[in-house]
Amino acid sequence: MLILHCPYCGVDCEEAELAPGGEAHLKRFGPGSSDTDFEGYMFARKNPKGVHFERWRHAYGCGKWFLAARCTATLEVFGTYKAQNSVPHPDVIAAVKARRPDWEGYK
């Protein structure tokens, strides 16, 4: 049962208040894109055993989407940040590196 900090309303949310939304920072490919790019956007997932950047919505709270960096092997949460970021927030990158010195970085 996870707890994630909502960067909008400042609440530490219970998992039951949240709706998960899968991998974060996907780049949308629309009309005109190649088959491979479109398939990648829709389906190819990193699904790492380790540091994962992902989307959550504070669905039964403020209703806002936010992003989290979380370890899928230990469930440690490195940080959360607002959804309006196309790449991981530098503070969160630093927080992950501090806890996982061997981490290869965001790819």
Partner: protein, 984 residues
């Protein structure tokens, strides 16, 4: 023979005798007894039968680890199987029955399995019962099933209620023994909010039975003072009869509280389930004594040494008059002293260790007890009760050197820390060779959201067994006897031949013996998980609390491997079984899920509506009158709407406002249609697809003003679509200036449908609803019959139709007003089925019928609703993929049976031949099918390969019982093809 002692008993109140029954026999105990204590006190040593061999079994333990003494408790709708007597408090009138025997506990036919034990080793069923093929299902499995199972089956719904509670704190302490109390005091004094859970009704754990000095007091006195101190602190909550069931991730705790188990029917919740978020858990739930593995260690009267001590000291019950003690450690000597203090006989202590001495041993010897070091038990004699033991050298193969008559055997194989809570979320263990136990590795705890430890473990649970060691870890002085070291003994005697090992039990309930584990090892089931599953070791209701360590030690020995290399099985919640009732809480019956009601719900209910669940809504399916069948009611409602006027409660329709300078641009992305160009005051039917191209929702969009649109969605889709909008606005187009609000429940909505709809509204008055003032596909705000109303000229039935929204709190009155005003026009309500049939008559699609998550708008002839001018909309790129543009996709058509009958729901149209997997080829399927009362025949819609190009062709639909129904491909619009009726 067990009996009640005339004096003593810390926990019982002799002034409060309680009556109960066991297998119909009336018995007496005292307030403070557990069922097990009361049974033993009443002389009942045999209390059950084992799972596989149906061997007679007695009480082994005094706590949660008890594998044998389970009973069916209660009667009728309050019957509960598999109730553990050692943890169930006695109450007046308790009705108990032993389990797993036929016809009676004393004489059990199933005991024949024990005679054939050699034919029934571990895993025998994997090697047998295979021939002939049908025999497993029809012959062997029924026998296995009938003989397996344990408790009787509850027959009725549970009349009791259950409660769930939340709490938040800094520290949860699991266990109210001396280490738990010391931990709680430490944390509470540091200002932490502390919850202490103790699974029994009493504080103090083992120390109050075993004695010793803490901080200058006797243990009992220290415990009393500690509890009083904690009770006096505002930041501490003490809970007895509350078991910490599980440690979950990020500090989530589930606790299980017994509230009214001993007062059935008193109106209070029977159990309370606690869901707690804590920053830290301190596991202080002690250790469990291990049995020793010798021949006949399961005969009633063979018990854990600590349990014997508990029964004597806590409940003044003597499990036997003459008790032989067998041990590999010093602790069991405390049992000898307790028995002697109670005036009971201890003919011998059989100690597997050679040349061992300590203060405790000396104390026992000083009381005149024979101590036989270097010895073990070769055999326990007796069948339904212990009559004596044969003694042998532990180092040998079981040659009998002595025989001692006795009626009880108290055994101790050492202690295993209870590491469950430490391990639930991944805390690791180390093997402690000197103390022969797995104990927590303090460097590898379970970690929480911050990656730091979220569980601490203290006291015996941490492997600290001596009182001075335990209290010393809290900086509190304590005195207890120095003990000689334990010597690991896994099989007794060490060289036990097969004949002994085949009757040396590891898992009592599941009848797993030393020989079974050795067999598993021999056959290559060398992982501890393989052995567990092959032999069923540790899979009984005690989940291996007694058997696991002994079992994996035997396995390691058989494999010639060190114990830590074998490892343990995984510790999983719950720590002890918890009721499904408690997990359910109040959410049962009407409260199972929230029920969404429209403002007109009560009216429908009063008119006898037949309900259809639609998501969490209830919608009237139809309103049967008199003896009408549902079918007849639906037909009547439809014909009335087509000839007079019908009313549909459409309040469940989703209503989402989308507003802002970029709202039009946003809706152009969301819908396949162009919505930005929709004129103010106009309505447009729109389609939404997901990014995968599939049609996901539809509904009428209206433009209210320059910046504001209102999007209608399907009843089931409102929340999903609103979430979908927010997802795109927040995560993709966050710079677009758009605001959304889901107003579904803010408005009641009524469809007024039929040729006389206008007359009805005109009668209500207040708004011009003429064709000229309110043309088809427009809307208008105004006051209608005194109600603030917005009227949409839209039609899902093909009739002249108005959908009218009023504020939700005026919905019921508005509905009543429509009914009253409509009386002279023959107004009738109609339900969802009428809605469905009328839309099918018109060839309108229904999300969920014509669509199923695999259908794109192009399949449904809805190309007209896909804007060709837009560069992009959600789903557009997906619809360009090769399979989506395949001309062979099935397309929407109408279907008419040649004989006018109604096609069954979901039938397929077959094509010639079979596919490479031998499946019949198909070329289409029915998506909606109804009897049309309007047309007096069956009508259907379906998806057919090249369908629109094959008008008039007849397809074969194999239906039930080999019948093939022939149906012709026709236009999907069956009624008023020109659309003249709706646009009047």
């Amino acid at each position: 023979m067990s009996h009640r002692l005339s004096t003593g008993g810390r926990l019982i109140d002799r002034k409060k005798p309680l009556s109960f029954s066991f297998n119909g026999k009336s018995m007496q105990g005292f307030a403070g007894d557990t069922l097990a204590a009361a049974l033993l006190g009443a002389g009942q040593t045999m209390v059950g039968r084992s799972f596989k061999y149906h061997r007679p079994r007695g009480i082994v333990a005094s706590g949660v680890e008890e594998p044998n003494a389970l009973v069916g408790l209660g009667q009728g709708d309050r019957f509960e199987p598999d109730q553990r007597t050692t943890t169930t408090e006695l109450f007046e009138g308790a009705v108990t029955k032993s389990q797993n025997h036929w016809p009676s506990l004393e004489f059990d036919v199933g005991e024949i399995n024990d005679k054939f034990y050699r034919l029934l080793p571990a895993g025998f069923y994997y090697k047998t019962f295979m021939f002939p093929r049908f025999a497993w299902k029809h012959l062997f499995e029924p026998i296995v099933r009938q003989s397996a199972g344990l408790g009787a089956v509850p027959k009725e719904a549970d009349p009791d209620r259950y409660e769930q509670a939340y709490a938040f704190c800094d520290v949860v302490v699991a266990g109210g023994g001396v280490s738990g109390l010391a931990a709680a005091l430490r944390e509470a004094k540091a200002g932490k909010r502390v919850i202490v859970m103790e699974q029994t009704a009493h504080w103090g754990g083992r120390a109050v039975v075993d004695g010793g000095q803490i901080d200058g007091h006797d243990a009992e006195g220290w415990v009393r003072d500690a509890v009083a101190a904690l009770e006096g602190m505002d930041n501490v909550t003490l809970m007895t009869r509350t078991m910490m069931s599980g440690q979950y991730d990020h500090g989530y705790i589930v606790g299980y509280q017994s509230v009214a188990d001993t007062t059935p029917g008193d109106g209070r919740p029977r159990h309370r389930l606690w869901r707690i978020r804590t920053k830290m858990t301190i596991a202080a739930n002690g250790a469990i004594e291990r049995p020793l593995s010798f021949y006949g260690n399961d005969i009633p009267g063979v018990m854990l040494a600590s349990a014997v001590r508990d029964y004597v000291v806590n409940w003044a019950v003597a499990p036997g008059k003459r008790t032989v003690i067998v041990t590999n450690n010093d602790d069991a000597y405390r049992t000898a002293l307790a028995l002697l203090d109670a005036g009971l006989e201890v003919p011998a202590v059989v100690d597997a260790r050679d040349n061992v001495n300590s203060a405790l041993i000396a104390a026992v010897k000083a009381r005149g007890v024979k101590v036989m070091t270097g010895h073990g038990i070769a055999k326990v004699k007796g069948r339904k009760s212990v009559t004596g033991v044969e003694i042998c050298r532990q180092a040998g193969e079981g040659t009998v050197v002595n025989e001692i008559a006795c009626d009880c055997v108290a055994m101790s194989g050492g202690w295993s820390p209870i590491v469950h809570l430490w391990s639930h979320c991944g805390g690791k263990l180390n093997w402690d060779e000197a103390n022969a136990m797995f104990r927590p590795d303090q460097t590898r705890p379970a970690t929480g959201a911050d990656g730091q430890a979220m569980v601490q473990i203290v006291g015996a649970a941490n492997g600290d067994l001596g009182l001075s060691q335990i209290m010393g870890s809290f900086g509190i002085g304590a005195a207890s006897e120095e003990e000689a070291p334990i010597e690991a003994v896994w099989v007794m005697p060490a060289g036990a031949p097969p004949a002994l090992r085949f009757k040396s039990f590891l898992d009592y309930q599941n009848d797993v013996k030393v020989s079974d584990v050795q067999l598993a090892a021999r056959e290559g089931y060398e992982s501890v998980e393989h052995t567990k599953r092959y032999t069923t070791l540790g899979m009984a209701t005690d989940q291996g609390k007694l058997s696991n360590i002994n079992g994996l030690a035997v396995l390691s020995d058989a494999l010639g491997r060190a114990i830590p290399a074998t490892g343990t099985t995984t510790f999983r919640p719950p720590y002890t079984p918890i009721s499904f009732g408690a997990i359910t809480g109040e959410a049962r019956g009407e409260l199972f899920q929230p029920l969404r009601r429209t403002p007109m719900h009560a009216w429908h209910e009063a008119r006898g509506a037949h309900w259809e669940p639609v998501g969490q809504w209830r919608r009237p399916y139809c309103y049967p009158r008199g003896n009408e069948t549902h079918r007849e009611a639906v037909n009547r409602e439809i014909l009335n709407a087509r000839t007079n006027v019908g009313l549909l409660d459409a309040s469940t329709l989703g209503k989402i406002v989308v507003k802002g300078p970029d709202a039009g641009k946003f809706l152009d992305m969301l819908y396949t249609n162009m919505m930005s160009t929709l004129g103010i005051g106009k309505c447009r039917y729109g389609l939404m697809c997901n990014e995968n191209g599939f049609l996901s929702d539809d509904g009428v969009v209206v433009r209210i003003d320059e910046d504001t649109w209102l999007c209608h969605t399907t009843s089931g889709g409102a929340d999903r679509i609103h979430g979908w909008m927010e997802d795109w606005l927040q995560c993709e187009w966050w710079d677009w200036k758009v605001y959304t609000a889901n107003l579904t429940e803010q408005f009641a909505q009524v469809a007024v449908v039929g040729p006389k709809a206008r007359m009805l509204l005109e009668k209500l008055g207040g708004m011009d609803v003429s064709k000229e003032a309110l043309p088809f596909m427009t809307f208008k705000d105004g006051v209608l019959g005194g109600f603030n109303a917005r009227i949409y000229r839209i039609s899902f039935s093909g009739e002249l139709s108005y959908e009218i929204a009023v504020p939700a709190n005026e919905g019921a009155a508005f509905w009543e007003a429509l009914n009253a005003a409509g009386e002279e026009f023959g107004v009738m309500p109609y339900g969802t089925e009428g809605l469905h049939v009328m839309r099918a008559e018109k060839g309108f699609i229904m999300i969920g019928d014509e669509t199923d998550g695999t259908v794109i708008p192009q399949d449904l002839g809805l190309g007209w609703a896909i804007s060709k001018k837009k560069e992009d909309y959600l789903g557009k790129r997906a619809q360009a993929r090769s399979h989506m543009t395949d001309p062979g996709r099935w397309k929407l058509v109408g279907l008419e049976t040649l004989d006018g009958s109604v096609l069954p729901d979901g039938v397929y149209a077959v094509a010639e031949g079979h596919n490479p997997n031998g499946q019949r080829n198909v070329q289409g399927r029915v998506t909606s099918t109804y009897y049309s009362p309007t047309l007096g025949k069956g009508i259907a819609m379906g998806l057919v390969k090249h369908g629109p190009d094959r008008m008039g062709e007849v397809l074969d639909f194999p239906a039930d019982e080999g019948k093939v129904i022939k149906a012709r491909i026709v236009d999907a619009v069956f009624y008023d093809k020109a659309g003249e009726k709706q646009d009047v």
